[in-house]
Every structure is written in C-alpha cells, then in structure tokens.
Symmetry: none
Subunit: 217 residues, 2 copies
C-alpha cells in the first residue's frame, strides 16, 4: 500500500465529508458532531471534532466555532466557484391605471417575488417589482402584463426613466424625465409619440425604472 501523502484524506475524513454532503442535500442544514460520529461509526465526539478541524485546515469545509451545526462545505459557498448571484425582488401590487403606485407598507403580503441574475440587474436592496395593468403606458413601450422593476425614489434627474403620478390627471405613467425651464417634460420612450409638459407641482415621482420584463405567453 502506498504511503499517505500529507494532502491525502483518511478514509474517515472522506466518509465524514461524504456524509455531510448527503446530509446537507437531504435536510437543508448541516449535521451535528454527534450525528456525524454515529454515521461514520465514531464513538467519541472529540474524534469527529478533530477530523473536522483537519478538514477545515485542508480547505474542504468551513466551521463556525462553538456553534451548533456551524458547518459549510466550501464548494457550496456562493461567493466562490463562479456563482453569478441572484437578486430577489418582491412583487408589489399592480400598477393600475388611474391610481398612484402604493408601495412601502403594502409590500408586505408578497411571498410573490421574482429573481434576476445579477448580470441583468446590479444588486440593490430595496428594489421592487410591479405588474402593469391596463394599456395606459404604451407610450413607454410597456404593455399590459409586463413586469417593471423599480427603485424607490422621490425625485428624478434629467434623463431618468421614472414612474410618475400626475395629480391633475389621476394617472400613473412611465416616462423619461426632463426639467425644461420652469416646467417638466415627460418624454415617452416611444419616439413616435410626443412629450407632454406639466407643472412640477402635479408630478409625484414614485421611483426609477430599472428593468422591464415582458412574458409573451
């Protein structure tokens, strides 16, 4: 039998590693020291602990000291191993033509959420998504059923696409925002349509539009 090199895992350590892996996929959380011991036929918890520390040294897992089930396989760490990462975005109530977008408190019920890979959308904390109802925003090339991902924002800078509540018309609209003299120009995204000019007092900015997703079927 060939001699063991420094980097080789013992039979036991391999068994422990395998058990942790299968336990993790089976239960969703890591096993305790004693559970490991029982699984690989080790009577003493200290032996398990010893081997766990050995495995940590060799980089096969991470261990949170003095913490029950404080194990983690290095191969499962999101930050490493080229994982892209996803942002979870809660779905708020729909945008309804003729009503302002209500967010904040109303964002509670939702277990509804969508997830987007971070290469599509830079991660940010308080993003939320809205489902568009009605055809009131065709001028922004957004139609019924589309999902709009937004970041809450009370004010807008020139050139940003925002959701605005127009108090004089009682409607929510998606437009590009521009200061122009004393007024505000709201420019539709669809270049075949004309902009509208309104007084700043009637414009309530709801948030900035970051992404639009349309499911065809």
């Amino acid at each position: 039998m060939p001699r063991k090199k420094k980097k080789t895992l013992t039979k036991r350590q391999k068994a422990i590693l395998d058990f942790i892996r299968s336990f993790l996929t089976e239960n969703g959380f890591p096993p305790t020291v004693r559970e490991i011991g029982e699984a690989v036929s080790i009577s003493s918890t200290s032996v398990v602990s010893y081997n766990l520390n050995r495995l940590v040294e060799r980089g096969h897992l991470l261990r949170e000291k003095e913490l029950s089930r404080g194990l983690r396989l290095t191969s499962d760490i999101p930050s490493l191993s080229s994982r892209v990462g996803f942002t979870r975005i809660p779905m708020a109530g729909p945008i309804v033509a003729g009503e302002p977008v209500e967010i904040g408190e109303s964002v509670f019920d939702e277990e509804d959420a969508i997830e987007l890979s971070n290469d599509l959308l830079a991660h940010h904390d308080d993003l939320f998504a809205l489902k568009v109802r009605g055809d009131s925003m065709i001028d922004a090339m957004v139609s019924d059923g589309d999902i709009v991902v937004m970041r809450p924002q009370k004010e807008a800078r020139d050139g940003e696409m925002i959701a605005a509540w127009l108090t004089d018309r009682d409607e929510t609209t998606l437009k590009y925002f521009y200061h122009e003299g004393g007024r505000i120009r709201l420019q539709p995204a669809n270049p075949t349509m004309d902009p509208i000019f309104v007084d700043p007092s009637v414009v309530q900015v709801q948030g900035k539009v970051l992404l639009v997703v349309r499911q065809i079927n």
Copy 2:
C-alpha cells in the same frame, strides 16, 4: 385599517422569513430560535417558536422538531414546490435590422449568457437570447438594446409572437403571426400601429418570442 385575511403574513412573520432567507444564504445553515428573535427584536424565544409554527402551518417553512437549526425554507426544497431553478440562456449575435437572424452553430461562443429564474420562464433546452440593434422593431414595443429570448421554430401558429425574416424587404421583424386567407397577417404588438399583409413565400419564421427584457440604464 382593513382586517387581515387568513392567508396574510404578519409583519413579524414576514421579517422572520426574510431573516431566515438571508441568514441561510449568508451562512449556509439556518439560524436558531434565539438568533431569529434577536434579529427581529423578539425578546422571548417562545414567541419566535410560535411564529415559526405558524409559518410551518402556512407552508412557508419545514421544521424538524426539537432539533437545533432544524429549519428549511420550502422554496429551497428541490423536490417540492416547483423549485426555482435557473435557466441559462446563451446570447446569440445581435438582431441587426437588414439581416436575417443567424442561429444554430453560431450559438457556441457563449461566454455571454443570461440566467432567468424558472418562475419567469419555463425551462426549455434550446432557448437563445438576442440583443436588439436598431429601432426597426418599435412596432413590437421592442427597442434598441432590448434582450429577446426565443425558441427556435420554423413555423408559427396563429397568435404566436415570432421573429420573421421578410425576404422581399430584407428585414427581420417581431410580430404576431396570423394566417388570413392565402396571405399572412403580421400584427404589431403595439395596438396603435397597423398590421402588414404579406405572401407566405416571403416569410421565414426564425423563432417564437418568449420573453423580452429591457434594461433602462
């Protein structure tokens, strides 16, 4: 304030759920009752336990009784509840106005790819994505820079949104497809625009559009 319906989650329960989720992705294992309590400002462990049981009842969690960190989010269970996996979709070359969409072999380069959660798009194998160049498809409410996810398809059924190469005009367009008498009606998605009628011989269907994503900034 309106009365809470049966299915509504309490503010606390929502906070607990969120904390478990973030803790899980952060550490790889679930939090303890006390860790949850501290995170959501609950002084008594029994209250946390109470709310956890409530969340279990409503199907948001699984719980292993009398087991430390014996929690699991139902949404993380692979076998159950329509696992929210992700589909990797390669980015083919851009759609250029005036050229047919070339796919097939060219889709190999895929360093570029996007990933979408399966709740946005049912998983399918040979999907591909295209980045739209030019403003030739505004009639489909698709503009420059948009990403179009498609499934390859040589023929179309009535009502499907497809990418079509029009041989007589030398252009690619996104339209709803309808047989109409001996001709084909290509209906823009934007209802303010008129359809065009063409002979079947000049229409080459490239694929069916499943999803459109627009990144604003």
